[in-house]
């Protein structure tokens, strides 16, 4: 049971389509509602078949599902917005466009073509408009049959069909055609429906082919960002999961193109925080899950909503430590302090400032592998693991610059445990802010705090630290008595120069009549 979170390209009107698709995919969306328009796959443009193929390949490459939207403002008439419609005198122009859209949808592999009715023109009475609507939809349905793509009627405030009950009645009057379903804009539900969005979703049930997500205030048809209106977003998403909806739920903010990437990022944060079966937990554990799963640990289900690469695959994990930790301490249980903290960070990234220091009090401070590593020098502590989860949530909620700033602040203002938490989390999030992360590792390596030095030399340092600093970090471990097991990928990165340095260290120790650490001897032997 899976539905997809998507974003409407009409909210990216100032982007080239290819760029818009990339930005949307990068934010973790797995689908788009593609509005055919002058600038985005013009259905009347030259070389249409070739362009359609290119877009199909682009969608495929980015792993994006698609529905086709037909609500462009001045596509058919440069003077009158949305004209002509199915209830206009020139209805055939609209029908022709819808059929073109169906063909394009078939070539793109789209779920459906979404459409609306139209504002009843002056001088046309309601019955006449309703008859026009029936005939227009019937004509368009021929195209749907021809191309094997369903149509999804969207109730639109102010138009002839503006509420769900009217759309359902029209469908019934037409004999309940298989290829006629419903598009539901959940913001519209707040604005004009007698019931809330969740109730509308349940009522539409398996006729629901396309969902548009946005917030709205009662009685006001203005698409708002989540939280700015009265929509119960968690309840709405829960209702989609409840009815087993498998299509696209795409954010519909057509008047926010001027700030599209930021708006889309905020929308994703809000969606993640509002997802059912605590969405945040699914995300957090999904992020760590690749590793946990490999090591055989059971994870709470994260199958309700499929999110994009950023949520799962793109989070770099490779840290053996994290894998071991996930299987041992388990993922956050729903309702736990950590699960709520992750949700909070996803919804309000700044909240990490006060949550991060509190981790030890809430989840404990015991070593992950207490038997072999009683102080957590090598494998860290349970609070390290929890802090990595918070930072993983943060990394999915903010862009690279904000992540860099917050990592630095958490470290600079952190006590010793918080600093270790930041350093160990770099295995999961450091790749997204490598410049700042390297500076933190370098800072830690200047200290004499054994646990801090050990935490600094994890997988991130192995991949990103310059070789000179890395070698001196390893040597410092030997000086401070830190087991070299704490140094990630030592085998791979140890080179002749490091062995020369360690050899000199061993000579010095011997000259002073002091023992040479076994780790140093092992390292020297490994090079011969």
């Amino acid at each position: 049971m899976t539905f997809h979170l998507g974003y409407g390209t009409n909210g990216f009107a100032n982007h080239r389509l290819d760029d818009a698709l990339a930005v949307i995919a990068d934010l973790g969306y797995t689908g788009v509602a593609l509005t055919l328009d002058h600038v985005h796959l013009d259905p009347f443009g030259p070389d249409l078949p070739k362009r359609v193929d290119q877009v199909a390949a682009r969608l495929d490459g980015l792993g994006l599902g698609v529905v086709v939207e037909t609500g462009a403002r001045f596509l058919l008439d440069p003077h009158r917005k949305h004209h002509p419609t199915l209830v206009s005198d020139a209805q055939e122009v609209r029908v022709d466009f819808l059929v073109r859209a169906l063909r394009i949808a078939a070539d793109l592999g789209a779920d459906c073509v979404s459409f609306w009715s139209g504002i009843v023109p002056a001088g046309v009475d309601h019955d006449e408009a309703w008859q026009r609507m029936r005939s227009g939809v019937t004509a368009a349905l021929d195209g749907a049959v021809r191309h094997g793509v369903p149509l999804a009627l969207e109730p639109e405030p102010g138009m002839l069909v503006e509420r769900l009950d009217q759309a359902l009645r029209l469908r019934e009057e037409l004999g309940s055609p298989d290829l006629l379903g419903i598009t539901l804009d959940v913001g519209h539900c707040v604005a004009v429906e007698p019931e809330d969005a969740a109730a509308c979703i349940r009522r539409a049930g398996d006729l629901l082919l396309n969902v548009q997500l946005d917030d709205m205030l009662p009685g006001v048809h203005e698409h708002l960002e989540f939280g700015d209106g009265d929509l119960d977003l968690p309840g709405t998403l829960a209702a989609l999961a409840e009815i087993g909806y498998t299509g696209l739920a795409g954010v519909e903010l057509p008047r926010h193109s001027h700030a599209a990437p930021d708006v889309a990022r905020r929308a994703m944060s809000a969606l993640r925080a509002a997802l059912p079966t605590p969405g945040a937990v699914s995300l957090g554990s999904e992020a760590l899950g690749g590793v946990s799963h490999a090591s055989g640990a059971a994870l709470p289900g994260s199958d309700v909503v499929s999110l994009g690469s950023e949520a799962s695959g793109a989070v770099p994990l490779g840290s053996e430590e994290l894998g071991a930790v996930s299987s041992e301490s388990g993922a956050a249980t729903p309702g736990s302090w950590l699960a709520e903290a992750e949700s909070s960070v996803l919804a309000d990234p700044a909240s990490i400032g006060a949550l991060f220091p509190a981790v030890g009090r809430e989840v404990g401070r015991t070593p992950v592998q207490g038997e072999s590593d009683p102080l957590g020098v090598v494998h860290g502590t349970v609070d390290d693991v929890a802090r990595a989860k918070l930072l993983t949530a943060l990394a999915s909620a903010v862009g690279p610059e904000e992540l860099a700033t917050e990592l630095t602040s958490l470290y600079r203002h952190g006590d010793d445990a918080e600093r270790r938490g930041v350093l160990r989390a770099l295995a999961a999030v450091g790749d997204k802010a490598p410049t700042a992360a390297v500076e933190l590792v370098q800072d830690a390596l200047r200290s004499n705090d054994t646990r801090l030095v050990a935490a600094a030399l994890g997988p991130f340092a192995a991949d990103h630290l310059d070789v000179h600093t890395w070698r001196h970090g390893v040597l410092k471990c030997l000086f401070l008595g830190i087991p070299l097991a704490a140094v990630a990928r030592l085998d791979r990165r140890a080179d002749a120069e490091l062995r020369r340095m360690v050899g000199a260290f061993a000579d010095e120790r011997r000259a002073a009549g002091r023992a040479v650490p076994a780790d140093a001897l092992d390292l020297l032997r490994s090079g011969t």
Binding site: G353, A354, F356, P357, G360, H413
Partner: protein
């Protein structure tokens, strides 16, 4: 005698003091963030100081068998310096940390509008972070300052039992006693209060909601004044349970409202960030 000094600035004290305090029975203390005698000139000076309070000084105290906690705030004196007030934006990070048991010292120094603002904002932070507040009362015009303090506390929505109003004397104790706030007394050589006057106040007001501290800092002060007050109480006929109540149970009850007191017996590590206070062979 087991002593919890609820207000002492150990950053300014020596290891001799720590040893003497331990010998006298001090096992736990709270170090409120305050000014350093020498004015700070930027926010970084504050954060370095806060870092010391939550890290280095806690470690240093542990070396002598004493549990160290702290309070964090922009003090009223430096609330008047525009170079310092931006520290208010950093406070939320520090107020969330382990061992931070109150917002403090806040309050009035010269009763300026700037102090009003910093005081009110920090009472709000206390509410938001679920922390008690430690309030300093001014040295000059103390009675008026105390009255204004209690007004602001009332407006803040912070429950009076979560507020300690400190540096009280005979002229200011009544208003605070009536307010429901905790009554703090700093026993100083020569100024503020002395042990015998303290005993007289305890006789009149009882031991409930009373905190006795040394407030020892970089000025002429005595970190053993808590102990000496305990002795004066016994000499004046109070029994050991009264002394325990004032010198241990009360501070534990007040700061315990933070949920962050660390009074377990976990042994301390030998070094802090790799450095020990022991001087010599190791780092």
């Amino acid at each position: 005698m087991r002593i919890f000094d609820p207000h002492i600035h150990m950053t300014s004290r020596t290891t001799d003091d720590y040893e003497a305090m331990y010998s006298a029975g001090v096992r736990a203390l709270v170090e409120p963030a305050f000014w350093l005698g020498q004015p700070r000139t930027n926010v970084g000076s504050f954060t370095d100081y806060f870092d010391a309070l939550i890290g280095w000084e806690r470690f240093r105290a542990a070396q002598f068998g004493i549990r160290h906690h702290c309070t964090i705030a922009l003090n009223p004196k430096e609330a008047n310096d525009p170079r310092c007030t931006d520290v208010l934006d950093v406070l939320p990070r520090y107020l969330a940390k382990d061992g931070v048991v109150a917002v403090g010292e806040i309050g009035y120094d010269s009763m300026t509008p700037e102090e009003d603002d910093a005081f009110a904002r920090q009472l709000e932070l206390a509410v938001r972070h679920g922390l008690p507040a430690l309030v300093h009362t001014p040295h000059r015009d103390k009675a008026a300052g105390t009255a204004r303090t209690l007004d602001l506390v009332r407006e803040s929505g912070l429950a009076p039992e979560r507020v300690a109003v400190d540096h009280l004397n005979e002229t200011t104790v009544r208003a605070v006693a009536d307010s429901g706030c905790w009554m703090g007394f700093s026993i100083y050589p020569g100024t503020k209060m002395d042990e015998d006057r303290m005993v007289a106040i305890l006789r009149e007001y009882g031991t409930e909601r009373v905190l006795v501290n040394s407030a020892a800092d970089w000025g002429r002060s005595d970190p053993l004044k808590t102990h000496k007050t305990g002795l004066a109480m016994l000499a004046a006929g109070f029994d050991q349970s009264d002394v325990d109540r004032v010198l241990w149970d009360n501070p534990v009850e007040f700061y315990g409202q933070s949920g962050r007191l660390m009074l377990d017996d976990t042994p301390a590590g030998d070094t802090f960030a790799g450095n020990s206070v022991l001087r010599g062979e190791r780092p």
